[in-house]
Symmetry: C2
Subunit: 354 residues, 2 copies
């Protein structure tokens, strides 16, 4: 029995989740079908429970074999105080499930190469790298305080990292590189930050265990340049939480097709969280316009990493490739000469090709 | 009497400084010439004094009307412990001179538009914005500590901001926007950081004083995307130190000609620091190859902001434009059909056009 948690999400997210679920239904073993559990997190949970992730919903997530998420948030919840904002639910889910490693691929789909904002001479060299982002440490989870000092407010965010936190994400970085082109770049700011200097120290120890992986470090400001200048140089980037947030969004942008990018967040157990990297697109909610591919590919990653169903994962990915080859495109990736389809029809086409 | 401090810098920096000084010599008032003082900072100071900014050199800098810097650092000093690294001298100079506002323009030169890594349809919409970066607060100058906790090392960088620090950079942001296209975007991460929430609070107060400026906020991860996706949307970006470091490097990269970009760092007094945003290019030191234009344009900014010599500043900028129109290029900006010149000859050409 394989237990899958479904977080339907906000805005246009339920529409992409519906297509991903159709794909999961189609690919499951009929004699041992998936057992689904709906989990409320984000805006939906705020509306229902006044809390973006009540304990009972986190408990449900913890009881699954894997969790699939669309996307959360939207203008409706913008004015709420910090702890009640949808994003807070996501941060608490990451922490509660102990998902310390977030994989964000940046890859140009040959069928969609034109969509990149970068020049052809750059994209022609190829873009295919992964950012392995530490997800439950650093400034996201450090102590925060705002207090009055000498008659004015002073806010402080602490950015902490401990050796074991760095080591476990470091191992994921090296292991990921080992399975790919064996090149790992650790991005930091060790000319300024103590945490970065600890990252360097731990990685200098780790690299001895992975002599087959070519290892180097790069300053975060330089990395922000190099991703635009020559993304073909990267295979695997490993970095701390906040730098990973910034660089992975930049990296997704240069592919030109954010609606295509899945991601996985994993921890010590097999129970990970799989989600598109794009947002909840509330502006097009309910219009059958949103691209379901990133969510469907997230489901594929879930099968591969969370449920040991490599073959089924590959089948889904191949179906997506075929649909792109056939020229079907949702509005976000549509170009002259291709066939515009809605969310549901994109789901239909992928199902046909399964 | 106008007192100018010259920090000759490391690597190929002395070569660009030499050209900038020739331009300053040519443009000065012969009856009231500039008085120059050489200041050692960075690698040069490490070599001479074992300290990247000894107090006597900082004192010299503080006694000037303005300071011009090339660039510092290089592989020679890479292995040194933190406090002895060249960069530490720069950070201490910024702090010592109280330079809280760093202006980093991102502008496409029409003559060099081809050099951008972005597609023509994006650069055609125009790239002309400024990043106003807070320069002496945040994680750069917060408390840092690495200590043993439960048998392992834990490092913590504090990221502090107080209301008055935010307010003074906020004012520079609004004032800068007012002198331009009147659009200010404050970049933060207020869904995660307490400091960002304090930035929002202070800016919400400030914006009432600048009703003529269109004000909005943007998350730093989104900003990293938007700079690549549609840079024409930006006029002025104001942000905290670390985000400014990352985004301004990304922004300079999309112009495709980092060797052209000057910057200014200013504080409460007129005595500011003016420098190219590029590094010290040690790999081409002594080869008469490095592009002196960013340093010469930094000298122009110094005349404009530090020495009240707007007319002379504009003359220098026009001379640079003319030389580009005439087709002269150093190696970093050379393209088919233009004339390759060395560092010195580029200086000659600019002097001719003054
Ligand atoms: C919503 C936000 C808190 C989150 C983050 O910063 O981690 C998002 O930007 C992401 O990258 O998943
Ligand atoms: C050298 C380094 C400390 C510095 C910084 O991070 O501020 C540099 O990257 C810059 O942007 O001027």
């Amino acid at each position: 029995m394989k237990k899958i948690g479904l977080i339907w999400g906000d805005g246009s997210s339920p529409e992409i989740m519906a297509q991903a679920k159709r794909v999961l239904d189609a690919i499951q073993d009929p004699v041992d079908p998936f057992v689904y559990t709906d989990i409320a997190m984000g805006g939906e949970a705020v509306d229902k429970y006044g809390d973006p992730l009540p304990q009972h919903e986190l408990d449900k997530a913890l009881a699954q074999d894997s969790v699939l998420l669309g996307a959360i948030g939207g203008p409706k919840w913008e004015g709420l105080p910090g702890p009640q904002r949808p994003e807070k639910g996501l941060l608490r889910l990451r922490e509660g499930m102990e998902l310390f490693a977030n994989d964000r691929p940046a890859k140009i789909w040959p069928q969609l190469a034109d969509a990149s904002p970068l020049k052809k001479e750059i994209t022609d060299k190829g873009i295919d790298f992964v950012i392995v982002r530490e997800l439950i440490g650093g400034a996201y989870f450090g102590k925060k305080e705002t207090k009055e000092v000498n008659g004015e407010l002073v806010a402080v965010d602490e950015m902490p990292y401990s050796e074991h936190e760095i080591e476990r994400i470091g191992r994921i970085g090296f292991e990921t590189a080992r399975k790919r082109r064996k090149k790992l770049v650790m991005v930091d700011k060790h000319n300024v930050l103590d945490t970065s200097r600890l990252w360097v120290k731990v990685f200098d120890r780790l690299k001895e265990e992975y002599p087959d992986v070519e290892y180097s470090t790069m300053f975060v400001d330089n990395a922000a340049m190099q991703i635009v200048k020559d993304p073909s140089q990267f295979d695997v980037i490993v970095t701390e939480n906040l730098f990973g947030d910034i660089l992975s969004d930049e990296a997704s942008q240069i592919t030109g097709s954010i609606g295509m990018i899945p991601s996985s967040s994993r921890g010590k157990t097999k129970n990970g969280l799989y989600e598109p990297i794009h947002g909840s697109a509330p502006d097009i909610a309910g219009q059958d316009k949103v691209n379901p591919i990133a969510c469907i590919l997230s489901a594929a990653l879930m099968l591969r990493y969370g449920l040991d169903m490599e073959e089924e994962a590959a089948r889904i990915e191949q179906a997506v490739e075929k649909v792109l080859d056939q020229g079907y495109r949702t509005a976000d990736i549509w170009t002259e000469g291709t066939t515009l389809v809605g969310t549901k029809e994109m789901g239909d086409r992928i199902l046909e090709n399964l």
